[in-house]
Symmetry: C2
Subunit: 628 residues, 2 copies
Amino acid sequence: MALTPFIASLRPNSCNFALQKYLSGMYRTITCGALRIADKGKTVTLAGWVQTIRKFGSITFVDLRDRYGITQLVFDEKETQKLESENVGREFVLQATGSVRERSNKNKNIPTGEIEIEIHSFKVLNPSVTPPFTIQDDTDGGEDLRMKYRYLDLRRNVLRKNLELRYSVTRATRNYLHSHNFIEIETPYLIKSTPEGARDFVVPSRMNAHEFYALPQSPQTFKQLLMVSGFDRYYQIVKCFRDEDLRADRQPEFTQIDCEMSFVEQEDILQTFEGLIKSILKDVKGIDLKEPLQRMSFADAMWNYGNDKPDIRFEMLVKNLKTESEIHLDALKGSSFGVFEQAETILAISVPGAADYSRKQTDELTDWVRRPQIGMAGLAYIKYHEDGSLKSSIDKFFSPDKLIQFADFCGSKKGDLILILAGKEEKTRKAISELRLFMGDRLGLRDNSIFKLLWVTDFPLFEYEEENNRWVARHHPFTSPKPEDIDTMIHNSPVITDKEHYLKHPFAAIKANAYDMVMNGNEIGGGSIRIHQKDLQKKMFEALAISDEEANEKFGFLMNAFQYGAPPHGGIAFGLDRVCAILGGSESIRDFIAFPKNNNGRDMMIDAPSPIEDKQLKELSLALGEIN
Amino acid sequence: MALTPFIASLRPNSCNFALQKYLSGMYRTITCGALRIADKGKTVTLAGWVQTIRKFGSITFVDLRDRYGITQLVFDEKETQKLESENVGREFVLQATGSVRERSNKNKNIPTGEIEIEIHSFKVLNPSVTPPFTIQDDTDGGEDLRMKYRYLDLRRNVLRKNLELRYSVTRATRNYLHSHNFIEIETPYLIKSTPEGARDFVVPSRMNAHEFYALPQSPQTFKQLLMVSGFDRYYQIVKCFRDEDLRADRQPEFTQIDCEMSFVEQEDILQTFEGLIKSILKDVKGIDLKEPLQRMSFADAMWNYGNDKPDIRFEMLVKNLKTESEIHLDALKGSSFGVFEQAETILAISVPGAADYSRKQTDELTDWVRRPQIGMAGLAYIKYHEDGSLKSSIDKFFSPDKLIQFADFCGSKKGDLILILAGKEEKTRKAISELRLFMGDRLGLRDNSIFKLLWVTDFPLFEYEEENNRWVARHHPFTSPKPEDIDTMIHNSPVITDKEHYLKHPFAAIKANAYDMVMNGNEIGGGSIRIHQKDLQKKMFEALAISDEEANEKFGFLMNAFQYGAPPHGGIAFGLDRVCAILGGSESIRDFIAFPKNNNGRDMMIDAPSPIEDKQLKELSLALGEIN
């Protein structure tokens, strides 16, 4: 068989320079990101990928790329001929030896930009066919193509840096938690399916026919058991699985920083994990947050931002002009404007410096709130001009006097544009929250290089379920009430006699010992102090109308464990993918996962999932059923 | 409703000392492992579990345990009465405040043994029912019971220390690899099923009906793709899954330290990961291995130890008296002993200082080799007494002169017992290897506190498959041959014309660029340099009689990726569970996994796997099939 020069060169008896290197097991003496002007005159060997290849007359410039950077190689006439005879092109893998010299044309944008390598000899370690898209910051590849060739997309700077950032986040996390006496313990991936919560991925067992494992949605039960075992500070960076219909920012497998502590109260947890996120920001972004994290009650978040994960990079607080129970703005009383009269809720924001929006611009905003995703009927506005005059879409119904009352109530300044939404409570609150974020974006107030963090606390312990006229757990049935609310829980019956006014039931006011950490308007972590007391847990099940039998069936082995001396404990879990995306200034977690799945849960690169062989199904005692 | 005193004490308006602590969010001022004589006089608050409770007259001693140690508490008459009224017993969770004082009766076995705490007040944080077994080093619980109550078993010192050791191994691993420029990258858990290798666990996809993901047996393909992407030093501590029938030391889910490097030859890998294991030994066990790891060829390991993972904590080398092709010991020539005459292979070991074994003892050894697991017909022995005389089970067939030749050939010294096995090559080699280990155990030569490491290298690239008269890959089809064997592979046809003498075919002599790391007779890691050259890969497929079509179907997307400039690369994977077990001086990996499964793949604690609901099956478009 005729050998290509390539394979021939691998024979031990060949003795060109590059081969010697190969046999000595050393492909390179230095990386492509390391050389500086101080290295002038050194002889070096580099190995990497051809990023660009440019011919100038009889000489050739090649930018050679590896994980560490890019170095410019210069090939003289003879070596250029060799480049051409081997058809060297983009993404070829080269090993090249030469001497470091100063560049005449310096490139200040890259650390190696002051030098170049005058090549003495080189070798093609591997050729490349033409890649399906350019391996550059601004690639010409569409998303589907790049997902299919993910291994090529990962060569691009931006994705490489994302994965490096992810690694530095996990490294910072481990270092901080280690220094705080946490121990990482692996919990199992093949566990038991529970019909609670989200949908499980299941794994049929061959050895136990017709039985299934489930992949964990979180290691919640196991970390609580580890507390019962006495490992008082546990953490794990761990994959979790949820078989949900996917949105753009969800993945069927995702990674949590999962933590639990014993002998702690909420304050200990907040302190400890405030420390964690500060440590991450310091190690990864060089940002030294000195102040304690802001804390905000769930109620304040809902009132002032319209949601429980407020973006506090900018103010523009939501003003509640009218709520279901009360009219807060006197100017509204006795108005002839039917829309406001009939509305359950009226909410407003005051957009700084937008009073000079044109009719076209306000119309655009109206269209925006009317989109199905927002679903409002319309938008009212008041322009509070710099000269103190007011111009409004509701001039017909409110005198200038009254409009000034609006502006005062909203804390508006001259030059502000007041935007007002009216409608059903929940929908309107959601809409004003979205509108606030939209305006924040428009005004450039949501700078991705700024990181604003806060704790949201004092969540309600229960939510009212109208259908069955009963209470359900907002988090899960193991979340503890606040110590000061335990009395209320113990001394009142959970039965709701007046459905209309369920909010007046004492249980509606009970707060959970639970907390979320929010960064730039995203919930990045959440947790709670757990109930560790049998009596209180029993009370909780009563409150949720869960019978002893049902409790035993659903939570049996954890309840069992709790009989043997469970310590007071609580914990938190952070969404690693989300933390990385925010720190990386991106909206999409997918860009921070090496091999993500698309919105149909498919890995486009390896083409999974896929049919399996009949033999495999038979071994599992399974059959294909009717397509659901 | 009447409150237990316990819940009542949680109310914020109560104000005993312990409750104040609770509300201030601080359950303890120090752990149970920290106090020393220098702390005498301090007032401290501890929280932990009652390990033991002993009454002496009117006072009571309690050993309080947490993750960090044990501290002795002394309760005076009044506090003892309170202990009794609250029925405090083993495994109750207490919070106790008191002052540190010197013990009269010091305990030198524990770090806190010089002090005790004179209790001022205490609180039961949680009671405990009587545990099903004692939480002590020598527990009275059987394995099944302890597996069911794993969360209690994990309270025992020995298991807690095992998990701490495991954490220190992963910590040392990460630190070493980080300092060597490795980056940890998470690869997916929901991948594609391949009929190659061991059996996959599969995960039905709901969104893609009748299609399945597989859980990874290892991230092999993904780490090679990451090399194509340019991440030249990757690692991951990662769960892997194999649906195999389980032996005592196998688990369906296990953890690998998975690594891959680019631009390296075998020597770089050996150096790098020799450094890793030394770093682990240093950080975890305080052992500073200075010498380079021994290296042994596969052939030498098989000849001298009878297997490819030799335990080199002791010598007792296997001597090959006669092999299929040759009689090595002249004394055997023309003997009248039919067993030896007819045997394909005769192998011996020389057991130091065992010449004075009694008839009963040698009979026991004979029984041992006759057990079905070993399956030999019998055992011959020669006692080489201290006085130079020889006594043997084969006296009838060999003169004293000849027996001396046996002893000399085996390198035996006076006082040695020579044990000889004869039979079919493979079986006899396996048997002598087992016998050697058995005798090593008997003689106390396999000390679990000593760690002996070596590399086994130069494995054959191919194995002969008699059934189809062809070559199969010993590792996998991506393992590279040694550079010096590439010629042989290229210039010879893989066709085997003389089945009888397949060993004479040039391919039988081709060595793989593969390596195993062996510790104390266990393979703890293994890997290879991969083929990165398309031409050579094609040759490999030809050698394995894999058609282009088949290659494409089975390895398509990896082969595809390799067209776009794959760098030379190779890697290794370590079995973390096994590494931990050996470092912990144990035979069983189960003791080093927090929540292991039993031999039927069941988690006895959570009772998984289990049936799932019909609704779940329907959603997955699946049906239960005939039981296999």
